[in-house]
């Protein structure tokens, strides 16, 4: 895919492990390069943020963003790995992408990841619930 080739030439030094499939590009980025890459994807080539997936693995907490380039039907997926599992913190992208407000709140609610710079960091789905499930999708949950 030409868009993938162009992207890898521009940012080749700033991204880590890459998995390239016919229409999907998964790559690892460090937190300091995240905002620059998001700006290129959202404002530069006109991608749309579909959603962001959070997952706890044995290496740490992983956040996978999904940016869709609609005219070509392809997906760019930057991945961030947070190694501090006790106090996970990462920069918020809501200043660049206003549509990420609820997406980041959901990750805070269910995994406890704090987004630095988010306008309203509070629970989304379990707010005011009589029994707070307290980060139900982490490994150490009481289920």
């Amino acid at each position: 895919m030409d868009e993938f080739k162009q992207f890898r030439e521009l940012f080749g030094t700033k991204i880590g492990q890459v998995i390239q499939k016919p229409r999907r590009l998964f790559f690892v980025v460090k937190e300091e390069h995240l905002l620059e890459i998001v700006k290129y994807l959202f404002d530069g080539i006109g991608c749309r943020l579909s959603t962001a997936t959070a997952q706890e693995t044995y290496h740490g907490l992983e956040i996978l963003y999904h940016f869709s380039l609609d005219k070509a039907g392809i997906y760019f997926c930057p991945r961030i790995v947070i190694s501090d599992k006790q106090n996970p913190k990462v920069l918020s992208i809501t200043a660049l992408v206003p549509g990420a407000v609820w997406i980041e709140r959901e990750m805070f609610d269910l995994w406890g990841i704090e987004f630095v710079g988010h306008p309203r960091m509070e629970q989304l789905l379990t707010l005011n619930s009589p029994e707070n499930p307290n980060q139900p999708l982490r490994f150490g949950r009481q289920a």
Binding site: T126, N128, P136, R141
Partner: protein
């Protein structure tokens, strides 16, 4: 109270309570009002306030956030009130039993008088349930 129940059976007013359903059962309940099945010819009407209701139609597998509200609605309803559970979710929890956010036993939230299983139950099944309820009320 036999005479009261017989009068009641002639025109039941229904209030619908949704406790985290997937909304399929709710759409099938609304389907009963539309021209194909048309329960309004039996005098059954969907009302907007629980204070006017004779029957509570409950759907959904109750969520921990919504369970206190359902309890409050049940307490606000003027007695005698019949609670009819529509769908497999209320009857048995369907596939959501293992979740962290659903109540384990729905009968602890409100007492239920009648179950209509199905995912969703067809409108014909719901009309049969209504007919049974009217039969019970008529003695």
């Amino acid at each position: 109270m036999g005479w009261y129940q017989r009068r009641l059976a002639k025109s039941l007013w229904v209030f619908h309570v949704s406790g985290s359903p997937c909304n399929n059962c709710d759409i099938e309940i609304l389907d009963l009002l539309t021209p194909r099945y048309d329960v309004e010819r039996f005098g059954i009407k969907l009302v907007g306030s629980v204070r006017h209701a004779d029957v509570l139609l409950v759907t959904g597998v109750f969520n921990k956030k919504v369970a206190p509200r359902i309890r409050r609605i049940y307490e606000q309803a003027p007695k005698p009130i019949f609670v009819v559970a529509v769908g497999t979710c209320v009857s048995g929890g369907c596939c959501f039993k293992e979740s962290y956010n659903t109540v384990p036993v729905r009968e602890e939230v409100i007492p239920i008088d009648m179950y209509i299983p199905g995912c969703p139950p067809k409108p014909e099944a719901m009309i049969e349930a209504v007919a049974k309820l009217i039969g019970v009320l008529n003695g």
